[in-house]
Amino acid sequence: MTHQRRALDTLEIAAGNGLLHRRAFLTSGAALAAAMTGYTLSDTASAQQLTDAPWSTKAGIPIPEYATPSSYEKHVVRTLTNPKGEPRTQHARTPHHLVNGTFTPNGLHFVISHSGAPDIDPAQHRLVVHGLVKQPLEFTLDTLARYPMQSRMTFVECGGNSAPLFSNEPVQANVQTIHGLASCAEWTGVMLSTLLEEAGIDPKAKWLIAEGADSLALSRSVPLSKALDDAMIALYQNGERLMPGNGYPMRLLLPGWEGNMNVKWLRRIKLVDQPGMSYYEARTYAPVLPNGKAYQFYFLQEVKSFLTHPSPGLKMSGPGFYEVSGVAYSASGRIAKVMVTADGGRTWAQAALQEPVLPKAFTRFRLPWKWDGGPAVLQSRAWDEAGNVQPTRAEVIARRGQTKTPVTNPTAFPSQHYNGPTSWAVARNGEVTHVYA
């Protein structure tokens, strides 16, 4: 123990309140690991003599055809706003504080559905491409399966993710409630450009209208330039068919663009010369500005980062070493840099970015931290390769405004497209709360 302490005390301090240099893990890994304390959802048990546990002295349970997580992981679930499917929107939020890495497991990928998930028979599903094309075309799932496919990791984020940060006072909620409407997966499918070129694009076409086979026939207008750049008809999500809530059997994938535009249960693409001004673009996903005007066509999910560890609900189990970590992402390419503070923004240390750092995908950042047991305020800020900086909350609020009274329902949407930082305060007792700093 003395030996470990000595090793830890020699680690390079990178910023105030105990943030260590991001190389500390690499150079002193063993000593650090030995002295690591951990985040707990409840209090830690006291040490005991090691003996064989019952599960080690008999054969285990049979392996099922389709695996589900351990029965001890039952709390690792999405939170739902409308579990009975009443006539209003449903939201299922990703538990960022209970997962790690960069990909969201399919069962935990966030979902927003304005009228539930249609139960689509893939054999009967059709995708039609028509409008300003030389030859309208119809595709079955079997036909699409014969086309060359590509896989790409990309995040999808709802335009309304992080909306509680528009509250004039910090909403007491965890990272799942605040940022749970963003997830990242590997999507595999056919490039939309391949299908559009086969149909033959009429030079008059400037937009396309994508429409789903859900009961609301949800539709969004997409500039043709995006469709020909990196849009995909996604058929697989993390290697398996899309989840029903994520668009089974096919969805439009517009890497980095507002979640609602990635039309699920895709059945129709119409090339047109002007945007349709559908309900969801003309009304729902157009945020109001303080002067009474509103932003229209807020296509991009701009550079953002947030800390998942620690975060509210993950109690710090005593002073000592922890890994501070979170995710960063941008519609404008790769994450270039993430800075972390533990003293509310006075001093900053650069976090290590976990490879591979992919464009328009979650990037996991990590930094060792020696918590001295005193009050601390943690926050992260990200930069992308296009030179965009995650703005401070004050900068976001100056442009976008905030509510006049505190938001009482943490799952409400006072506005959309917040990409400022989130601050977590650590109290002496190890509790983590949401604050503005």
């Binding site: 006539p87 309208p136 075309l137 595709f139 070129e197 500039p223 043709l224 349709g276 229209q296 509510t403």
Partner: protein, 173 residues
């Protein structure tokens, strides 16, 4: 060239040529898509034949919409379709047909494709025109006697028509 090399050569040619047409899509005509093609553009393109008045709309509304949107659209479990605070009241101001929607065609389009919520796409085009007329008249955007059809609807000027700023103008075609 042995068989394997020939296959590799073909595969490389396919990968290298992005405009290689697979030609697997089934050729159809616009008339085959007609039943699905419910897109309405703000200039009125796509609006079907038919017409309706606010008065006719009031009757349909009472039987098919009021259960969720309240009597005369005053709001209940689902959003109010009449009235609305000025948008300068705050960023969280509820967006309504009267204070927010830029195009009247969106009202026709959304009602036809999505409403009534439990039984979408069961309304006749005349009913959709009548409901659109009713909601616009309740908001005093059109007169109580105005008939809505493919010609008149796109001409309706919504109060907040000029209230929008494209967030990324360089990306608007």
């Amino acid at each position: 060239m042995c068989m394997r090399n020939a296959l590799i050569a073909i595969a490389l040619a396919v990968l290298a040529n992005p405009v290689f047409a697979q030609g697997l899509g089934k050729h159809i005509s616009e008339s085959d898509v007609a039943a699905w093609d419910i897109s309405i553009l703000p200039d009125g393109t796509g609006l079907p034949a038919g017409n309706g008045t606010p008065q006719q709309g009031a009757t349909v509304f009472a039987s098919k919409c009021a259960v969720c949107h309240g009597e005369n659209g005053k709001g209940a479990t689902a959003a109010a379709l009449v009235g609305g605070e000025p948008l300068t009241s705050g960023i969280e101001t509820a967006k309504t047909v009267a204070n927010f929607w830029p195009y009247a065609t969106t009202l026709f389009d959304f009602t036809r494709r999505a409403m009534p919520w439990p039984r979408p796409r069961t309304l006749t085009n005349d009913e959709v025109y009548a409901l659109t007329a009713f909601i616009l008249a309740q908001n005093k955007i059109i007169g109580a006697e105005d008939v809505m059809n493919a010609q008149s609807l796109p001409k309706v000027r919504m109060p907040n028509r000029d209230g929008f700023i494209p967030r990324f103008p360089e990306r608007i075609p």
